[in-house]
């Protein structure tokens, strides 16, 4: 019995962890690589979730529809970055704090617009596989978690390959390392950063769709996720894309174990404790290069 509980807690934790990683992936790009503290990212994800519910109501599958939505988000991300950089990029490092405040204001505005458009009620999607589970011996995995969870490894692998092997991807990593290095090689760092921020926003459309399959969502659902998403990115090590998946799973499994064998009431404290512990004892994270 204990073993069955353990196996199920771990499997649920892995699934939830994958979803956390999907949520945090955009942040791993914008914060981890570009050093833009986009605390509005979880709200972007919630916006993606709402967009998915709108199309779901017309009979579309939320994950399928999130692919074209990702293109829209990519464009919106680029436009938003343009606005952001007009204000900040020229002002220099001391204004990270101002940037944080800007994103804070942006997330308020987006949340409120969502409330005004959709109301404060919960919204959910209607997909056939919700309510059914994949049974592997003693381990039961609800499709409601399994299918969105699969999104994370797919996105992580795609993004990792993109950053590793394409010209633009390598340029993004170069920007992360040293902006000046790039301007020497004749690429416009401004364009590369816009592009990367657009990619980060695009992931929000897909992970939003994943999130709303897991459970109903309201306009303020992003708030619960801000701390956790940053915990994933920082625990992973700034900018480590595969690390994001590992860190997400680590947090998910720990939460599930605390929930199953300790008290579920303490589960929200898990991510925060891990975040603080990382900051205090290993600021470079699990997979980050030490700086």
């Amino acid at each position: 019995m204990i073993l069955e509980l353990l196996a199920n807690a771990v499997s649920t934790g892995v699934l939830l962890g994958c979803i956390y990683a999907a949520l945090a992936l955009g942040l791993a790009v914008s914060f981890g690589l570009l050093h833009i503290p986009n605390i509005a990212h979880p709200v972007f994800v919630v916006t993606g979730a709402f967009a998915a519910t709108v199309f779901n109501a017309m009979g579309w599958d939320p994950l399928l529809v999130s692919l074209p939505l990702a293109l829209v988000f990519y464009g919106a991300g680029i436009a938003f970055f343009e606005f952001y950089s007009r204000i900040y990029e020229k002002r220099g490092e001391a204004d990270t704090m101002q940037a944080l405040t800007l994103f804070f204001g942006v997330s308020l505005v987006i949340e409120t617009v969502l409330v005004m458009k959709f109301g404060a009620d919960q919204r959910s999607t209607d997909v056939d596989y919700v309510g059914q589970s994949l049974v592997l011996g003693p381990v039961v995995m609800p499709y409601r978690l399994l299918i969105p969870a699969l999104v994370a490894p797919v996105m992580v692998t795609a993004l990792w390959l993109y950053l590793k092997f394409t010209y633009a991807g390598i340029a993004i990593r170069a920007v992360a390392h040293d902006e000046r290095a790039l301007s020497v090689s004749g690429i416009n760092p401004g364009w590369i950063k816009r592009h990367a921020f657009g990619l980060a926003a695009a992931t929000a459309a897909i992970s939003g769709a994943a999130l709303v399959i897991v459970g109903p969502i309201d306009p303020f659902a992003g708030r619960m996720q801000i701390g956790r998403a940053f915990a994933v990115v920082i625990l992973a090590g700034m900018g480590s894309i595969p690390g994001t998946l590992a860190a997400g799973i680590l947090i998910g499994v720990t939460e599930a174990l605390v929930g199953a064998f300790g008290s579920p009431s303490w589960a929200p404290a898990v991510a925060f404790t891990m975040l603080l512990a990382t900051l205090a004892f290993k600021p470079s994270g699990l997979f980050g290069a030490s700086r």
Partner: protein, 336 residues
């Protein structure tokens, strides 16, 4: 050896610690006394209790905004979770009231100590790395504090706690009047403390580290220790601002003690007023809180939050030094 300025220039053009600095402090002190006296007069003469309830809310925001600004404005370290500290103050007071019917001064002192300790602990763990991490950790701190309270049955957990705090002393003329005076005294004390920090060597050092941490360090500023101190002071102030709430409302619950609206306002008010000097948070709090008190009965609060969000973006983008900054720019003046 350059000597383009003559000794004459030096004698004539010497700014700085002129006698007027002392005079300003005197004016300020008189102003504080005046505000307190005005409060006494109002609680004696105005009969309508609504003004005391509403006034408490507005003045509490002055205290919270001022407390936040010590770290957020002077040192430039943004605390996204001021309600974590405020809530710790609320619950420290609640605990003391429940356990021993503690009088208000005891609760305030204990809340201050608890807030300072929390500030030290948070700071010790997160202030060694870049400021962004501190800001992020404070977001998570609210969730953590709320989780802890949920798990303490003695404090009512999620259900909240109804308490009968000690009644106001007879001379105060009633609980609402007394609470208003207490909050006013706290706010005035905070503003005075903030001003003192601002004009002291500590304020100078804080501004230096805000401009460049490494340069400040090389100029002999013990930046880590200074940030810790600022974090502790700010934490203590925010917690103290929360302590009287139990006595004000006789009922507390996590949703109120850790409310997002309070966090949002604590950040927005100094930003709108101006973060560089004590005037900013006071101005921002009075403006925003008064508007919100009026607006909560006229326009929908969704619009309210939307307006705050847009105003926040606008100020950050166009007027990073807030209203005070705009006024200084218009009058061509600048200085502490």
């Amino acid at each position: 050896m350059s000597s383009r300025e003559t000794a004459m220039d030096l004698a004539v053009r010497r700014p700085g610690r002129s006698p007027s600095a002392g005079r300003r402090s005197l004016v300020f002190a008189l102003g504080c006394v005046g505000v307190l006296a005005l409060g006494v007069v109002l609680t004696r003469t105005v009969e309508n209790p609504y003004i005391f309830f509403a006034g408490y809310v507005v003045i509490q925001y002055v205290a919270v905004a001022t407390g936040w600004n010590v770290l957020g404005g002077y040192a430039g370290y943004i605390n996204f979770g001021p309600t974590a500290f405020y809530g710790v103050g609320v619950y420290t007071a609640a605990f003391l009231v429940k356990a021993m019917g503690a009088p208000l001064p005891v609760s305030i002192a204990a809340a201050g100590a608890a807030g300072a300790l929390l500030g030290l602990a948070m700071g010790w763990m997160t202030l060694r790395v870049q400021g962004v991490y501190f800001a992020i950790a404070t977001i998570a701190l609210v969730v953590m504090a709320e989780t802890v309270v949920h798990n303490i049955d003695y404090l009512g957990g999620a259900s909240g706690l109804a308490l009968m705090p000690p009644q106001a002393p007879a001379w105060a003329g009633g609980q609402p009047q007394f609470m208003l005076m207490v909050m006013l005294a706290i706010a005035v004390a905070f503003v005075a403390a903030a001003r003192w920090i601002e004009i002291s060597a500590m304020g100078r050092a804080l501004r230096a580290l805000k401009a460049s941490e490494v340069a400040a360090e090389c100029a002999g500023v013990p930046t880590f220790r200074l940030k810790l101190i600022a974090c502790a002071i700010s934490g203590a102030m925010l917690a103290i601002a929360g302590a009287p709430y139990v006595y004000y409302a006789s009922f507390i619950e996590p949703g109120t003690a850790f409310s997002l609206a309070l966090s949002l306002n604590a950040i927005a008010m100094p930003l709108i007023g101006g973060k560089r000097s004590w005037v900013g948070p006071v101005l921002g709090a009075l403006l925003l809180a008064t508007v919100q008190q009026a607006a909560s009965v006229t326009i929908s609060s969704e619009l309210n939050i939307l307006v705050v969000g847009v105003v926040l973006i606008a100020f950050v983008a166009v007027a990073p030094d807030g209203i005070v900054g705009i006024v200084e720019k218009l009058t061509g003046r600048r200085g502490a």
